[in-house]
Amino acid sequence: MTGKFTNQKAWFLVLPVVVLVAFNALIPLMTVVNYSFQESFGNNIFFWEGTKWFEEVLHSDRFAASLGRQIVFTSIILAIEIPFGVAIALSMPRKGPWVSVCLVLMALPLLIPWNVVGAMWNIFALPDIGLLGKTLNALGFDYDYTQQPISAWFTVILMDVWHWTSLVVLLSFAGLSSIPEAYYQAAKIDGASSWAVIRYIELPKMKRVLIIAFLLRFMDSFMIYTEPFVLTGGGPGNATTFLSIDLVKVALGQFDLGPAGAISLIYFLIILLTCWLFYTLAMKDEAQ
């Protein structure tokens, strides 16, 4: 941050971004805030309701249940994908022709439209004609994700691991490839074990990208909508109805604008606060 000089005219350079993002973010956000404090009976007639919707949402079992499912889902996802992704990145070759092959193949799931991911796993996991479903049943597991909540959760989590672990791998790999060769050479001369190399060189150097990986995976898994929606439709029952699926049902399905507005704001706030808290805690060491 050193060496920058103050120039208020720089505002002109950021103006297009500010205008575009403000148009896109502020107007809809105002709309949401507006709804969340009012009652509508159609025909654009609104009545001031104060914090009624917020109280209703916060006391509703439905919201609590979706939020609970969301938290459990995101926790499981993070607990699997972060260590798994780091482990894969650590065991990847650092240079040579195989690096490109690995990166291209691993990045592939990241660029498949989310509904296609859902559809793909839908087909892959079907108990009668899907490779996964058929195999699991042949191995003696009673598996049917359209009927059993446990199977559905297993499938949704496996799908997310399939879809997103590569992001963690790519980030970790980027962090690893920025470590100068001299660190490994010095460690060799110092007689460090390979575990010590991971513990004292590789993990500390990956810290920054791991923070990014954690934040991105937290945000995106907390907002997940399309893949489970296509795969299970939120079912069986409400077993895989996560926050976004629930919100879309309320907003676009039932057109309950007030509760939808209130849910939206609470939802957004939870993500913002968690990111801020995590980031502050993670960077505390650096600041000292």
């Binding site: 920058k4 000089f5 120039n7 720089a10 505002w11 350079l13 950021v14 297009p16 971004v17 575009l20 993002v21 896109n24 956000l29 709309t31 482990a87 065991s91 070759p93 195989w98 690995c102 990166l103 291209v104 193949l105 691993m106 990045a107 592939l108 660029l111 439209p113 989310w114 296609v116 559809a119 793909m120 087909i123 892959f124 009668d128 004609i129 490779l131 058929k134 399939w162 672990t165 790519l170 980030l171 980027a174 490839s177 920025s178 490994y184 990014i212 945000m219 399309t226 296509v230 976004s244 699926i245 919100l247 907003a251 676009l252 939206s264 939802y267 957004f268 913002l272 980031y279 960077m283």
Partner: protein, 266 residues
Amino acid sequence: MKRAKPFVPAFYIVFLMLPIYWLLNMSFKTTNEILGSFTLWPNNFTLENYTTIFTDPTWYNGYIDSLTYVGINTVISVTVALPAAYAFSRYRFMGDKHLFFWLLTNRMAPPAVFALPFLQLYSEVGLFDTHIAVALAHALFNIPLAVWILEGFMSGVPKELDETAYVDGYSFPRFFIKIFIPAIIAGIGVAAFFCFMFSWVELLLAKTLTSVAAKPIAAVMTRTASTSGYELGLLAAAGSLTIIPGAFVIYFVRNYIAKGFALGRV
């Protein structure tokens, strides 16, 4: 020279490829074979599903629509992000840090929150069911990311480059286009890649903001899944085709992906 455990990534890649293989497998099967038996590869190999997609305008228009709004979005996002990223990387100005943070918070907004307000906003301004509506909506999520990535790359370019150019009598726009952009072309590639990626894979907003004229391929697929019953082969073929643009883009930026991640600043 270093500990190599090639079987770990190999194993992982096999795991990644299995569902994709299954999708391809399905796409070359007839509906009868799909429903009638469980086969590990197509016994009655057919291209019929692909023929349907390439001859039926509702199908192939879906691809054209998707690629159109993805393209518009990438161009808009990168174009407006460039000057902004330059401002953040070179100057200090009133509210710069808050602005940067505010931009990033938009990346944390769930699309589901914006679906309904976007629908109303774009209907109000008469953009509903146009490519530009989807492109603008996606820009909300892509611009912050593009600014962030580009700022990282630009901070890596020494300030002396700017100063030398100004001393040589370049005006700002001429310097920016002739000298600065070529210097960070890799960063632009990475930013464009991420914009393409998000816009190409997102469905909720794209589906909500379109009905007929600009319907993305992803939405055409959902409709097929729900209305025309059990045409799994067709669905699999359509899905397989959506993998191709992504694979292309990854191949071209493969050397920059890892770097792009590393250079962004938290």
